[in-house]
């Protein structure tokens, strides 16, 4: 009788575990077919996620722009780096080895310092500018560059820039 009880208990455990695995498989299948839930954390002016263009399209606009040109737009970007002092600027990938420097209107809001590789939607003004040596060196300092790395910067640089009045940080669940 005792042996029978133990055997029954073991069988119960194995069957229960098996069922749990099956349930997990079912849940996984469902997740694949479900739409991923997306939340947005808002910074600066409240904006909506609709109608944002892809970074690739933005790059084609930037390539055609001259220094001083600007266009109002909304674009989805993947963050590369954020100012590690204040979060007062960030760079983002535009594809094909290009990046955009994003700053925030009127220094009015900052972004979290730990959002590298996160997706964001930025709304504002895209423009091309010549960034001075002093300013490039300042950004290098913010990134934690060494004295030698900073001294290598000796020429103004044509830069794809973006002045954002509102940013949505994409939080995928």
């Amino acid at each position: 009788m005792k042996n029978f009880l133990i055997l029954f208990a073991l069988l119960l455990t194995i069957v229960a575990c098996k069922n749990e695995t099956k349930q997990d498989d079912t849940v996984n299948d469902e997740v694949v077919t479900e739409t991923v839930e997306v939340n947005y954390k808002s910074f600066g002016k409240e904006i909506v996620a609709d109608d944002a263009i892809a970074s690739k399209s933005m790059l084609s606009h930037y390539v055609d722009m001259k220094a001083g040109d600007s266009i109002p737009t909304k674009v989805t970007l993947k963050v590369k780096e954020v100012c590690q002092n204040k979060g007062c600027w960030m760079t983002a990938d535009l594809g094909e080895g290009n990046e955009v420097m994003v700053k925030f209107k009127d220094y009015g809001f900052f972004m979290p310092k730990n959002i590298a590789e996160h997706e964001v939607i930025v709304n504002g003004l895209a423009f091309v500018e010549e960034v001075s040596v002093d300013e490039q060196r300042h950004y290098a300092e913010d990134k934690g560059a060494t004295k030698e790395e900073i001294e290598v910067i000796t020429e103004p640089k044509r830069t794809f820039s973006f002045l954002a009045d509102g940013v949505l940080l994409v939080e995928k669940q």
Partner: protein, 143 residues
């Protein structure tokens, strides 16, 4: 032997509890900048000079200079900034210019005295922290 049965049942329920814990989602913690005393003082300076600009433009009586702005020499800077000799020198130049706005015996016009003050801010920021410059430039009174 009977104990063995109950031990197996207990392990079974404990394993169920563990699974519930694993399902809980990890909360994201964002690393936001915490403003330093100097950052707060700079924001107050900006708000004060914006008010002063309107008074100068509208030829109204000027609000007296708050004593707290003398704290620019002692306000704690953000962790990544050092109070360099250059910064101390710019702080003195700025305060002298800001006080000069109230010098009614000056040969320089009130608008120019105000703009000189704002230009000292821009000069310092161009070497210390370029980010707020576009915002500061908006304080300048067009001639």
């Amino acid at each position: 032997m009977k104990h063995g049965f109950w031990v197996i049942i207990l392990i079974f329920f404990m394993s169920c509890n563990d699974k519930t814990k694993k399902d809980e989602k990890a909360e994201v913690v964002y690393d936001m900048y915490v403003p330093s005393e100097m950052t707060v003082l700079m924001k107050e300076l900006y708000a004060f000079n914006l008010q002063l600009k309107k008074q100068v433009v509208n030829d109204e009586a000027l609000t007296p200079l708050p004593e707290q702005f003398l704290n620019i020499h002692t306000a704690q800077l953000s962790n990544f900034k050092a109070r360099t000799e250059r910064f101390k020198s710019f702080s003195n130049i700025f305060l002298t210019a800001q006080k000069e706005i109230y010098n009614t015996k000056s040969d320089i016009s009130l608008k120019d005295r105000f703009n000189n003050t704002i230009n000292t801010c821009i000069s310092c920021h161009s070497l210390e922290c370029t980010g707020p410059i576009p915002k500061i430039k908006k304080l300048l009174i067009s001639q």
